[in-house]
């Protein structure tokens, strides 16, 4: 499944510079070094963290997209940074667990 295909399933795009990227698995976490140590390339990364370091980690760890769960907000400035760094950011209004279950059904 491509990142942009999630938009048809209740996920909202905040930044989508590379929507054709394929999602391969997922990782959930808010501690950045755990994400860098455990997430795999092309994973969708589900988190509730929304600071600028999230964008750097998503870029350097080469995840296919960041999915902000719980409907958390990201500032316009950070969304612009994500676009400039080629980082896809989506948002789900569901809690983290429900977001993961939904994603799991879609990418399985």
């Amino acid at each position: 499944m491509k990142v942009k295909d999630l938009l048809e399933h209740g996920f909202e795009a905040l930044s989508l510079p590379d929507g054709d990227r394929e999602i391969d698995g997922a990782y959930i976490g808010d501690l950045l070094s755990w994400v860098m140590g455990r997430a795999q390339m092309d994973n969708a990364w589900i988190t509730i963290m929304t600071n600028v370091n999230v964008i750097a980690v998503a870029s350097l760890a080469d995840t296919s997209c960041v999915i902000l769960a719980e409907g958390v907000d990201m500032s316009d400035e950070l969304v612009s940074t994500a676009e400039a760094k080629d980082v896809n950011i989506l948002r789900s209004n569901d809690p983290t667990y429900e977001t993961a279950i939904k994603l799991s059904g879609l990418i399985a």
Partner: protein, 141 residues
């Protein structure tokens, strides 16, 4: 490519919300060189962890990256407080990060272990009150 390529960066110690610039630039350079994504990813993560550590724990430093046909070498050098007990610092979960740093998502005590995990060799030279130099290599051949 017979000569080694070298990149030098000064890592600012004041502003760790913008930290990661050196690693981001290195990622871009390695992409332009056409290196495999898996290699770029390992170098990027190892360097970012080290760069963030210099900002958070050592008030900044310098980063030098050398790309040869056989390997990519990253040398991170700071004049920070040094690491009192390297063996302890290398353990997953050990961290002296403050609460404000933890609130940004750092401070899990996983940075140094990640640097080791993603590189083929890693050497830490540290002297209390003088600084820390970390040399990492990722093999290409």
């Amino acid at each position: 490519m017979s000569d080694a390529l070298v990149f030098h960066f000064d890592v600012d110690g004041d502003n760790f919300t913008s930290a990661g610039q050196a690693s981001t630039q290195v990622k871009r350079n390695l992409r332009q060189l056409g290196l495999p994504p898996a290699i770029i990813r390992r170098v990027s993560i190892a360097m970012y962890e080290g760069e963030i550590n210099m900002v958070i724990h050592a008030d900044g430093g310098t980063a030098d990256v050398m790309v040869t046909e056989e390997y990519i070498e990253i040398i991170l050098k700071d004049q920070g407080p040094g690491i009192a007990n390297v063996e302890q610092a290398m353990q997953e979960g050990f961290s002296t990060a403050t609460d404000s740093i933890r609130s940004l998502g750092f401070g899990a005590g996983m940075g140094l272990p990640n640097m080791k995990r993603y590189t083929d060799s890693m050497e830490i030279n540290t002297v209390l009150g003088v600084g820390t130099t970390i040399t990492m290599r990722v093999n290409l051949a």
